[in-house]
């Protein structure tokens, strides 16, 4: 099991969700958690103006999605996010990043199931 955390452009969220959905079997549904986050990578944030003063806000507004994935689906999920999250053909700075972490355990609260079947 892996935990995939992806930081993407807010307006790409819908496309990423659609792409993730396509990697699944018929009738299944993706489980994911979404949060609005602020941060920056190589892009240096945004320039704003406040009362005539230029202010560089280090942070840009992004969306973070978190999904737990069984090993068989990891590469498919990464591919789906990669393609759908690019702002333009070929990609550009600010498109975001994908982190893949080992996932030690997963428990479905309702049933108490553990492991891959709980994902």
């Amino acid at each position: 099991m892996k935990l995939i955390i992806a930081i993407i452009r807010p307006e790409r969220l819908q496309a990423v969700q659609d792409a993730l959905q396509k990697t699944l079997d018929e009738g299944d549904n993706y489980r994911l958690t979404v949060a609005s986050v602020d941060g920056h990578g190589r892009a240096t944030g945004e320039i704003e103006y406040f009362r005539g003063q230029q202010v560089r806000t280090r942070m840009a507004q992004k969306t973070q999605i978190t999904i737990g994935v069984n090993d068989a689906y990891v590469e498919r999920a990464i591919d789906a996010i990669l393609k759908a999250a690019r702002g333009t053909e070929g990609g550009e700075i600010g498109d975001g990043k994908i982190f893949v972490l080992p996932l030690e355990q997963c428990v479905r609260i309702r049933t108490g199931e553990r492991g891959g079947s709980a994902i």
Binding site: E46, Y49, Q61, T88
Partner: protein, 435 residues
Amino acid sequence: MFDSLVGATTDTLSCVPITLAADAAAPLIDSGSTAWMLMSSAMVLLMVPGLALFYGGMVRRKNVLTTMLHSFVAMAIIGLQWVLIGYCLAFGTSWHGLIGWNPDYLAFNGISHTALYGDKHVPELVFAMFQGKFAIITPALIAGAVAERISFRAYVIFIVLWSTFVYCPLAHWVWASGGWLFEKGVLDFAGGTVVHIASGVSALALVLLVGNRRDYPDGAIMPNSLVLTLTGAGLLWFGWFGFNAGSAVAVETPVAGSTAVLAFTTTQTAAAAAALVWMLLEWNHTGKPTSLGVASGIVAGLVAITPAAGHVKPVWAIVIGAVGSVVCYFAVQLKARHRKDDSLDAFGVHGVGGMWGAIATGIFCFIPAAGLINGGGFRQIGLQLLGVGVTVAFAFVMTIIIGSIVKATVGLRVTDAQERDGLDITIHGERGYHL
């Protein structure tokens, strides 16, 4: 004291003003009417920030400032354009019923603050200011249709041209003494044709030129705050009392009189009926009575009653408002089928609601002309249809021409990347909300 002049010949005071009038040979200011016109003018202006909130709440958070600015900048631009030339074109001496012109009106330079407007016993300046607020809100209504992708530069240029070459002639035709539709007897109490049909139809024409938003119709385009939208709808309702009841200035002396009260009453009644009907329709149709539905109903009812406000009895205002909601509701649903991204439903509500209101005026009016239900036959409906047809054709064609000129020169749209990242940060260098 002046109030005693009107309809009170038995009043013992009536001799006093007559003597005064004979002495000075100068008409008197009616302070009550002047106060009401000042108040109405301020209330109509308040509708503009109301509209900013109404529209601003419905767009995504990355575009909230640019959308609100469309309304606010109209206050700045048309607020000036009206003083410099707009009033002159709309209400100057009529040239063949087509356009006004009176050099004294340029920059209000020749309008003395003591000069009175017509026989209304209110200063001309208050009339000019009142009308100026209508000129401000009308182009701002159009902005809702092209929200989230129109270039700010293009919008600024467009509204100057549109106000000068579409709004001013239309206002002259319909409202000015000598205007050709006015002289024919077309009724438009407070702007069903001039404001709502004109802005709604122009909105549709502009959508055709600007195109849909990049995320329409496949992306999830959700409002950033319906709280703002509801607040805006409330301010619009409040301001609309000035819009409609203040428009008694066109038909009655004293202005703050029975026609103003009639318009006030019909305005309240139609808005209430429309809000209720929209809510019930939607509740029945989708199972959910939404807050945006109630807000939309309020606006649809207010739009529908606008041309009829001082011409119909309150009971018919219920019908006008209720039917207004029904036609606007279905017009908004229809949009999904045609895939024309009139983003905030400027055409669906103002265009369609305005057309219904203008025609309904011909059905239900009892003063100054008898409509269909009051024994007047189809004559007034015919006149109203003329008003609607002329306004639709003129506004559509002129907007296509003006829009095409702006498109060919500075372009109408922002770049795809600007649209993607939001107009607030890319054009204005600001965000509406931080952490």
